[in-house]
Symmetry: C2
Subunit: 597 residues, 2 copies
């Protein structure tokens, strides 16, 4: 029979109607000669009752039902007695009086119970991902993911964007993260690379005059994985011609407003706040500040530069700085041991130590309090707006270390102290990025975003002389302390792009070998253009409240880049490799028994 | 200044208005002290006039303009004199009287002229793909492609389908075409494979209860390329639970109807015609028949089985067959030499010879006419509905060869003789497929669709004893002789899937190693499900009238799987390979000069 309704969508208005439902047995209970079955599909659960009075022959089959059996049930929708109503269930005011049941497929006892609250290990859940995804919370997440894509696509199509697919088998470029490579069979010894982003292709589409491009596209980075990274991830990618930064920002604010309205029912006011990179680093110790709470970093370098406390004055005199945060009213809550633990946490971010002071009625207390008296003490108290009961934490180090360590401490304490309104969505643009980052280990500059980012025009003369102070026409959108995405205006003139490659240490030959096609394209009438790319996985994670990217990707990889369900990666046959003209290095060959040799 | 309008969209209603346009110089002409510029963007062309009377200083800049320069022009919309109207241009009734022009970017003379009619080699066009795609015809194709995706997505979303992304880094499976492999750095010696289709993942989503899934997804096959193949191609992929074949067919007819309406403005009547695989092979010699014309294959085996012409009677007696087509009124048009050429064409499809007869008032003529007299001749004439002036062509061979050769001849002659109404779109479902194909070379059965296709229930007992006669619950949708897509109901019971693997020659161990996760999934309550996948590239090609898949893919690969634009595949560094634990076989190493050694 044809399904008439989804389980979770049967309503009181249907009382008296015959329905045909198909789904999974969530639970069976026997009670006083009756059999109750909770029937589940993607929309929810409905209660089915088997009763010898109206179920007849079906009683026998109902008795065979077990959890996760797939069944077809036909019956009549009935109102429940008032005292039987289940207010926790959308269908809680009705039940189905079963006339017939067909067992479509049976199920062994699953390795874990299909319910949202689970303490099953993630490893088991990933191995049986098809069961894990039966949990209603996961379905809801993927429904949300699908809905977000729909909102984004329709908005961009309405705005005149073309969806264009760019290649997945493309060229390896040494700049950026590590590439996934794909050996070529036709051109033995040569390799394709999976794209880290469609950056150059979308720029070439602008050279083609496509004007407005978008794609929701998979990207690949062979990096060591952290909690919030996956080898393959999805970007909402767009590019526009003949626009300035304000056009791109304005369009994307409307897009995000639409997503928040459609998906969360929230009216987000626009324009979003903006903050410069420098201010974000200075106030929050982060280029992706969570601005839902204060606990801001205060620079006290000037106050302590002459301090007898050498840790502070020494940091300042050697070009570093000293900053502090004021954990309001926390003095009594943190023992010396607790503060030591905070120090260890700060150490993970490079801090050599964490100085602290407690503010009491009588003044500053703590092991280093003796160094801060009189004017210096007053200065500290005033700079940190300290009152009795406050706990003050300080890091003295190079600027970057101070920002990292105090920024991380700020986030940790913000959560710990309940300072964050978790129901809030705080969007903020970070602007005025530096064009380059200097890598001390490699002794060279890297592109802070990517090598195709347009420098601020007035900074162009400094590209060769003073790269560290060149600003980029770049902007990141941050939500609740997570980078949702970043974009920039792009270089569209050959000479600027060549200077950029040169600043990054490319010889002319290297630049031509890797990016000659782009430089050539700039010779043939390239329009000014720019764009942005958002991490879809991150957006879904933040909007669904999921704890991990793995919860918002249907078939994710583990931290060691494995798919536990299909068991990938895996060994392949020697003949497959031979066709590709490659071999596995001997130390990676599987051990072979003598019998097989 | 902000762009106010696209070039191709300025209308007569705007006469008198000031506009700001941005685009490319298509052409500049100087005429009697005036300068005419055709300005182009993705929407089309508009004529801009520079005249010292109203252009002032801009005349000088206008004089510098060359083809493909990027410019910003502001000016006033004016009606053209009646005798200046260009009826071939959407904007042909107006022109822009330029006030200002800014040269945004210059252009070298492009390697070919940007216009639809081109005789530039495809190699040059692919190398400069960003210029090739400036041709209006290509932009139109990609706009159509984007529009088709939009129609499909919105229709499926409205029907309750979830867009779910499946992995691109997955597991190599030996069944099917050749995989593209991706070496793993973390698990050295192991490989991911790029998916040939998301078949198993979409089935697992059904096991998860997702109920309705779709994705427009890239697929990868490392096959030797033909004109209509690409290493990466795009599928419109969908899967549904608790449905039968009729549900899937009906839904997809509405989808195709919607696509034809939205994209081509054509009202396609549904339901589409259907034909069984056997009938298609018998009447058209093809499993993807072009039914826009007749020229059908007629079986004359019974008539000629006793013929003294041993080529015919021998074919029948050794289990083959003899079939003919009647090329109406063609007798006078085809010389002996022309017919020899047809014979050579048929030989490419395996035919050892092509017998022919011309029908004249006096009877059959031709070198083998002497074998066909009296009743046999009457039988032939009647079977082929032959009249004087007709040309009859025959192939006698094994069934498969007869179908291939005559099917190919039918298509060739259909085109040559102008029998095909090229404006027509003829959709037809091909049903009742065999489950297996027998490969004589390998001496084993292969899955005609894939190993997860549901056999017709009543044929299940023959799975082990008589696999060649087991029918599949499969259906292909064919448009104008091209397979648009194919689908099936899937196996959802472990024992049937195991029997299927066994019929394909898998040992139990092999089946478990490759597909254990799927067999396991069937143990935990798998719903009946089925789906279909369409080739998006093929659909765009047919609806846009493009001649090749390369014309509907933004950055396509050549027949040797190369990207001529970015030059992929390419050599990579030794350190990249070392990290992956692989090496290139010595014979594929690039030659290195002594100096570098």
């Amino acid at each position: 029979m044809k399904r008439t309704d989804y389980c979770g969508e049967v309503t009181e208005q249907q009382v008296g109607q015959e329905v045909v439902l198909k789904g999974w047995v969530q639970k069976r209970r026997d009670l006083g000669g009756l059999i109750f079955v909770d029937l589940r599909d993607r929309t929810g659960i409905v209660q089915v009752v088997f009763n010898p009075d109206f179920s007849g022959d079906a009683m026998e089959k109902a008795d065979r039902l077990r959890s996760e059996f797939v069944v077809e049930i036909s019956g009549k929708v009935c109102a429940r007695e008032e005292n039987q109503v289940n207010p926790n269930l959308a269908t809680g005011r009705i039940e189905i009086q079963a006339g017939q049941v067909d067992i479509i497929n049976e199920s062994k006892t699953p390795p874990f119970v299909i319910q949202d609250a689970t303490d099953t290990s993630e490893e088991i859940r990933l191995k049986y991902r098809y069961l894990d995804m039966r949990r209603p919370a996961l379905y809801k997440t993927f429904k949300m993911r699908s809905d977000i894509m729909k909102t984004v696509r329709n908005f961009l199509a309405d705005e005149g964007f073309l969806e264009v697919e760019t290649p997945y088998l493309t060229k390896s470029t040494p700049e950026g993260a590590r590439d996934y490579l794909v050996p070529s069979r036709v051109h033995e010894g040569e390799f394709y690379a999976l794209p880290q982003s469609p950056q150059l292709f979308k720029q070439l589409l602008m050279v083609s005059g496509f004007d407005k491009y978008y794609q929701i596209v998979r990207c690949f980075r062979d990096e060591d994985l952290r909690a919030d990274r996956q080898p393959e991830f999805t970007q909402i990618d767009m590019e526009m011609s003949f626009v300035g930064m304000e056009d791109i920002i304005a369009l994307n604010e409307i897009l995000m407003q639409k997503v928040m309205k459609d998906i969360k029912g929230i009216d987000m006011p626009i324009p979003f706040d903006r903050i410069t990179y420098d201010e974000a680093m200075s106030r929050f110790g982060s280029d992706k500040p969570d601005v839902r709470f204060g606990l801001e970093l205060k620079d006290i370098s000037e106050i302590v530069k002459g301090s007898p406390f050498k840790v502070f004055s020494g940091a300042v005199s050697s070009g570093g700085q000293v900053k502090g945060i004021n954990v309001k009213g926390a003095a009594a809550d943190y023992s010396r041991k607790d503060i030591d633990a905070l120090g260890e946490y700060a150490a993970r971010y490079g801090a050599k130590g964490l100085a602290w002071l407690k503010v009491e009625e009588e003044g500053l207390k703590g092991p280093v309090a003796k160094f801060f008296e009189g004017e210096t003490a007053d200065g500290l108290v005033s700079a940190l707006e300290a009152e009795p009961g406050d706990l003050l934490l300080f890091v003295a180090d190079k600027r970057a270390v101070v920002a990292d360590a105090l920024g991380a401490l700020r986030l940790k304490l913000g959560k710990e102290r309940g300072l964050i309104d978790e129901s809030r969505f705080a969007f903020i643009w970070v602007t005025d990025w530096p064009l380059f980052e200097y890598d001390e280990e490699d002794g060279r500059f890297y592109a802070a975003h990517h090598p195709f980012t347009m420098p601020v025009r007035e900074d162009l003369p400094k590209l060769e002389t003073e790269p560290q102070s060149v600003r980029a026409m770049a902007y990141d959108l941050v939500l609740n302390g997570f980078e949702l995405g970043g974009g920039s205006l792009r270089i569209y003139e050959r000479d600027i792009q060549e200077k950029m490659f040169s600043a990054l240490g490319f010889t002319k030959e290297e630049a031509n070998e890797q990016f000659g096609f782009l430089l050539d394209a700039f010779d043939y009438g390239t329009p000014p253009h720019g764009g942005i790319a958002f991490g879809l996985d991150r957006i879904v994670m933040l909007l669904s409240g999921a704890q991990s990217l793995r919860d918002v990707i249907a078939f994710p990889k583990t931290a060691s880049a494995s798919d536990l369900l299909v068991e990938a990666p895996s060994r392949v046959s020697g003949s497959q490799l031979e066709e590709l003209g490659i071999k596995v290095l001997p130390e990676n060959e599987p051990e072979v028994s003598d019998a097989e040799n």
